[in-house]
Symmetry: C2
């Protein structure tokens, strides 16, 4: 029995990636192994934000298809160096990590022409938006799936669509007013999907790489996980748009397309768990439990 408890054998436990025979039903691992170049896309460097911490780089793909004004503001702020004095000010367990400038009221910092407040971009028209539906249902929305590469929801009755607060999604902090966000205060989900935030705040994108540099940060001791002592803030070292770096310095990131056959197979493999470890094959999958694979390009 202890043989099953060695580190190597433990690696089979709770596995999401256990390999299976070539003739076996598809698993996440076998679907990904069978993908071709056409199944992957390269995020637009004009939509890609690099945030550097001492611990490493966080890569965020912005979602101008849903939040064009916030995405534009964030890019303008990054280009003006506004985030270079920003800090992680909040880390609330099972909820969010949030960063911004703590001196904003006293010293607004260089804004590069970014608006100081923006209209809410909580949702958008579903018209003209490609949408890959998930058939397994959802507690919060009439319909869920993926749009523009992000987890999203849609309401056929109202004709509206919005981004879903899954793990790793990034939003723009706001005050009480719907139009009080400018993209200069951002948060990332580091816990169970707080889907009650959907349509209550502007979601601006998601973390593609490096979320582990944020999710492990010590939790704040104040209300809502804010740090009570400024000394506990974690500084951002730099925030830049990928497009502003020489091409040789850009990460060659690829993301699995959510509108292709490979992704449909991945969803199926996550719904019906054929990895050897699973005893009950499940048969259902929730929106936020479908991974959106990211890899570094081989070339």
């Amino acid at each position: 029995m202890f043989k099953t408890l060695t580190a190597a054998a433990l690696a089979t436990a709770l596995s999401a990636t256990t390999t299976t025979r070539a003739d076996a039903p598809p698993t996440t691992a076998s679907v990904l192994a069978a993908t071709t170049a056409a199944d992957w896309r390269r995020p637009d460097p004009e939509r890609t934000l690099y945030i550097d911490l001492d611990a490493g780089r966080v890569v965020i793909e912005l979602a101008p298809d849903f939040a064009p004004r916030h995405a534009g503001n964030i890019a303008a702020l990054a280009r003006a160096g506004w985030f270079d004095q920003a800090r992680v000010v909040r880390a609330q367990d099972n909820y969010v990590v949030q960063w911004g400038r703590v001196d904003a009221e006293q010293a607004p910092g260089p804004r590069g022409g970014a608006a100081e407040s923006l209209p809410a971009e909580f949702d958008r028209s579903a018209d003209g938006l490609g949408f890959t539906p998930l058939s397994d249902g959802d507690v919060y929305a009439p319909e869920v799936g993926w749009a523009a590469g992000f987890p999203a929801a849609r309401d056929p009755d109202t004709g509206r669509a919005w981004l879903a607060h899954c793990y790793g999604m990034v939003g723009a902090g706001r005050g009480l007013a719907a139009d009080s966000s400018d993209g200069g205060q951002l948060y990332v989900v580091i816990g169970h999907a707080p889907r009650h935030l959907d349509r209550n705040i502007t979601v601006v994108g998601r973390v593609l790489l490096g979320i582990e540099h944020l999710s492990v940060l010590p939790r704040g001791g104040g209300p809502l996980g804010f740090h009570e002592d400024d000394a506990d803030h974690v500084p951002l070292r730099a925030a830049r748009m990928a497009a502003d770096l020489p091409e040789s310095e850009r990460l060659r990131i690829e993301v699995l397309r959510t509108d292709g056959a490979a992704f449909a197979q991945l969803v199926q493999a996550r719904r019906h768990r054929h990895e050897e470890w699973f005893i009950d094959p499940v048969g259902r999958v929730e929106l936020c439990n479908v991974p959106l694979p990211v890899r570094m390009a081989a070339d």
Copy 2:
């Protein structure tokens, strides 16, 4: 606009606990403020496990109503000192943190008569099990709610009930065989609820306090978040049953009962968000987004 971005004002953003007027509709904060002593219970010290790390104490309430044999084995192992040489061997982002003895095969350690493997306790009969249903639906199970103070699910067709893998739930790692767990390897959920694990592994309880000592641990660099270098393991300093400590050294923890009127009000307050910050009051709530409040007794 920047006034809304000071630390104090930011504390209103994303708030789950914003206070409201006494005559306002109920919120999480107002429901909790109105609870009486009868709404709270004190976990049985015979079911309460203290795990001490250098960073602090993690308190786990075991669930013998669902996993009696695992709960018994875990208590026996803790009492024998088996966990005192255990280490956190795995931290996988958005999934689990796991601990056990890495030397188990070579040096099994003191087991106090604990069985070396146990039958699976993936589910149990729903007969005789008090169950507080949640009416909002679920992607994975025909019915969800709370039983014995834990998030749970139930299938009226089969008459079975099981614990749900919400954030903070603790399970017993196993190998490929259903009966390969003994409770000596434990994991805790630190990400979006991996509900596909339900009925695939034995859930043994949940973390009541101190999960932030586990959720912030550096993620492992190997497959499935296992640490590749033993030097990255985080040692457990002690693991004891609360009942084995003098009463003066036990934490006076109280947990909100899940079978009373106050909890029903809490669910309603989480379903319909009346905090001032919310613009869309939501109207739905998912099982794993209902908090199970824990506090220290005032006396």
